[in-house]
C-alpha cells in the first residue's frame, strides 16, 4: 500500500501499516506545555493520580504568553511550572527565550519523523521539519505526561502542490493565506495538509514554518513539509537515508489535491474577521491603518524582520501609526541585532518589544480599541482577538505589513 507522509510517520512509530480512519495509539516524542495552560495541565495530571512523568527529557515547558507579565496573577503560571519541573525532574524549561513554536524546532527538540503534541493549536508548526505535530487540550496533555501515549485517528491527507517561482514581494504568507481562502476555515478539518512541489522546496525552513503554522486555520490536524537537506541543516542532523525515506509514496491516495502555479500568487490579506476572508492587497489599498504588528510564531523570524527592514531602510514609518516589532525568540532578536536589521527597524520608528506571543494573544504588545485598524503578520484575525470586537484585523505578510507602516495605509 502507498502512503502519504503522515501515514508513513505513524506507520514507522507503531510498526505496522496504517490507513486513514484507523484509530491507533502512538508513542509521543515531544510534549510542549506553554505557560497559559501549565497550571491547568498540572492540576489535571495530579487529579489523574500520576506520580511521575513518562519521560522528563521529552517534556518542554515554555513561558511565552505571559511575558512580559501584565497582570498581578500572570506570574502564578511561572511558579506553577517551576514547581512541576522541579518535582518531576524536567530540565527543558524556557523562561524568557521566546515563543514556544519557534523554540520547539529552533532549540533542537523536534526532528523529522517525530510525533509531537502541544497545549496550543499552533503546535502544527513543527510539520515544517517533517514531523507530525498537533495541538491538544490540557487534560489530554496531562494524560500523555503520565502515559507517554495518545490515541489518534489517522487523518486523510490533502496534497497541496505548488510549482515554480514566486513573484517578487510574494511570500509564503501570501501562499498559505490564499490556500486557506480556497479551502475555507474548515476545509481541512481532521485532515493533514501536505505541502510539496518545487516552490516549497525552494523555501527556507522559516518560510515553511509560516505555512505549517497556519494549517490549523483551515481546520487541519497537521501541516507538513517533506524534509530535505535544508531541513537537516536547520535541525543540525545528517541528511541520511532515514530522512530521505520521509517522503510520500508515489501514488499515495489523497482526499484532495490542490495544484497551484507559483506565479499566480499575489500579495493578499485575510480581512476582518475570518482567516478565510482573503482579498488581494490591490482591492484593499488605501485602507487607513492605526497599527502594524510584525511578529508571532507565524512571521517573527529573522527573514521576516529582514523583509520588513528591506522596505523600511532609511525611511520612517507614517506619523501616528504604531509599528510594533516582536521577534519570535531570543536567538532571532540577537541575529537581527547583529546583522543591523533591528537598527533599521528602530530608526524607522518601530517599537521593538521583548520576544513572546505579544499582541497575537491579545494580552500585551499593542492591544487596540473600537474602530482601530491593524495590519498584523500573525495567524488569527478573530473577533476580539487583539482588543475589542470592533477592532479590524488584517493578516498580511511582513512585506505588506512594512508597507502599511510606511504609508499609514494598506499599500500594494
Amino acid at each position: 500500500m502507498k502512503h502519504t507522509l503522515v501515514e508513513k510517520i505513524f506507520g514507522n512509530k507503531v510498526g505496522h501499516e496504517v490507513k486513514p480512519g484507523d484509530i491507533i495509539t502512538v508513542p509521543v516524542d515531544w510534549c510542549m506545555v506553554d505557560d497559559i495552560m501549565a497550571k491547568f495541565c498540572i492540576g489535571k495530571f495530579e487529579e489523574m493520580g500520576f506520580t511521575k512523568v513518562y519521560d522528563p527529557e521529552k517534556i518542554v515547558l515554555i513561558y511565552d504568553h505571559f511575558l512580559p507579565s501584565t497582570q498581578a496573577d500572570d506570574t502564578v503560571a511561572f511558579h506553577a511550572g517551576d514547581a512541576f519541573a522541579e518535582k518531576y525532574g524536567i530540565k527543558n524549561v524556557h523562561r524568557t527565550d521566546g515563543i514556544c513554536h519557534q523554540l520547539m524546532t529552533e532549540a533542537g527538540y523536534v526532528k523529522p519523523g517525530d510525533i509531537a503534541f502541544g497545549t496550543d493549536s499552533h503546535t502544527v508548526t513543527y510539520g515544517c521539519v517533517g514531523a507530525f505535530s498537533t495541538g491538544i487540550g490540557y487534560t489530554e496533555m496531562a494524560g500523555i505526561l503520565g502515559t507517554g501515549e495518545i490515541w489518534i485517528k489517522v487523518p486523510e491527507t490533502i496534497k497541496v502542490q505548488i510549482e515554480g517561482k514566486l513573484n517578487e514581494g510574494v511570500t509564503s504568507k501570501d501562499v498559505i493565506l490564499r490556500i486557506i481562502g480556497d479551502l475555507t476555515a474548515s476545509g481541512a478539518t481532521y485532515q493533514a495538509l501536505e505541502f510539496c512541489g518545487s516552490t516549497v522546496s525552494d523555501m527556507s525552513v522559516a518560510s515553511r514554518m509560516t505555512m505549517t503554522n497556519m494549517a490549523v486555520e483551515a481546520g487541519a490536524k497537521c501541516g507538513i513539509c517533506i524534509p530535505d537537506e535544508k531541513t537537516a541543516e536547520y535541525c543540525n542532523i545528517p541528511y541520511d537515508e532515514k530522512i530521505k525515506n520521509l517522503c510520500p509514496d508515489e501514488g499515495a491516495s489523497y482526499s484532495k489535491v490542490l495544484t497551484y502555479k507559483a506565479e499566480d500568487f499575489v500579495p493578499v490579506m485575510a480581512c476582518p474577521s475570518l482567516v478565510d476572508n482573503i482579498h488581494p492587497v490591490s482591492e484593499l489599498k488605501g485602507t487607513k491603518v492605526d497599527e502594524v504588528f510584525l511578529g508571532s510564531c507565524t512571521n517573527g523570524r529573522l527573514e521576516d524582520l529582514q523583509a520588513a527592514a528591506a522596505v523600511l531602510k532609511g525611511r520612517k514609518k507614517a506619523p501616528h501609526v504604531q509599528f510594533i516589532v516582536t521577534p519570535a525568540s531570543r536567538k532571532v532578536y540577537k541575529e537581527a541585532l547583529n546583522d543591523g536589521t533591528l537598527e533599521i527597524l528602530s530608526k524607522a520608528g518601530a517599537i521593538i518589544t521583548t520576544p513572546g506571543c505579544g499582541l497575537c494573544c491579545g494580552r500585551a504588545g499593542g492591544v487596540l480599541t473600537d474602530d482601530e485598524v491593524v495590519v498584523a503578520t500573525n495567524n488569527r484575525n478573530f473577533l476580539g482577538r487583539m482588543g475589542t470586537s470592533k477592532v479590524k484585523i488584517y493578516l498580511a505578510s511582513p512585506v505588506m505589513a512594512a508597507k502599511a507602516a510606511l504609508f499609514g495605509e494598506i499599500t500594494e
Binding site: 495552560m37 493520580g49 487534560t139
Partner: protein
Amino acid sequence: MSETFKAKIWKLDDDIDTDIVLPTEYLALKTVEDMKPYAFSPLRPELAAQIKPGDMIVAGKNFGCGSSREQAPEVVKALGVSCIVAQSFARIFFRNAINNGLLLIENPDLHDAVKEGDEALVTPGEKIVVNGKEFPIASLPENLMEILNAGGLVKAMRKRNGLD
C-alpha cells in the same frame, strides 16, 4: 447516554471560534466559574446570562475553531449546556469537549431547520425531534464513548491508575 432529554435551543452561526467562546484575556481567571460570565462575550455579551442549565446550542459548521484552549468546552459545560449540535466541529474543540464529558452531536440539517427558542427532544445516538420533525443522529466511535461514559478523561485515567 441514551436517555431522551428536552432542551431549549440557542442558535449560533458558522465558525464560532474559541476567542468567541472565551476571549484570551479571561483564560487566566482562577476558576471556570469566574470565566462563565464572559462566554461568547465578543459576539453576544448577554448570552452567558441567558443560558440556563439543560439548554442546548445549535450551530453551523466548524464550531470551536481556533486555539486549543480547553477552557472553551469547560466554560460551555459549566454553563450547564446539555449538548452542542453543529454541522461540524473543529477537531481540538471536539477532543477537548469529549475529554470533559460534554456531548457533541454532528448533524447537517438541524441548524437550518430550527430557530432560537425552539424546544428539542434529544435522544443521544439516535435522533433529535424539533417542531415535530425528526433528525437522525449517529453515535460516537467506541473509544470516545468509553471516555464519555467514564465521565471524561480525568476519570478514565484515575481508573487506569487504580484510584477509582
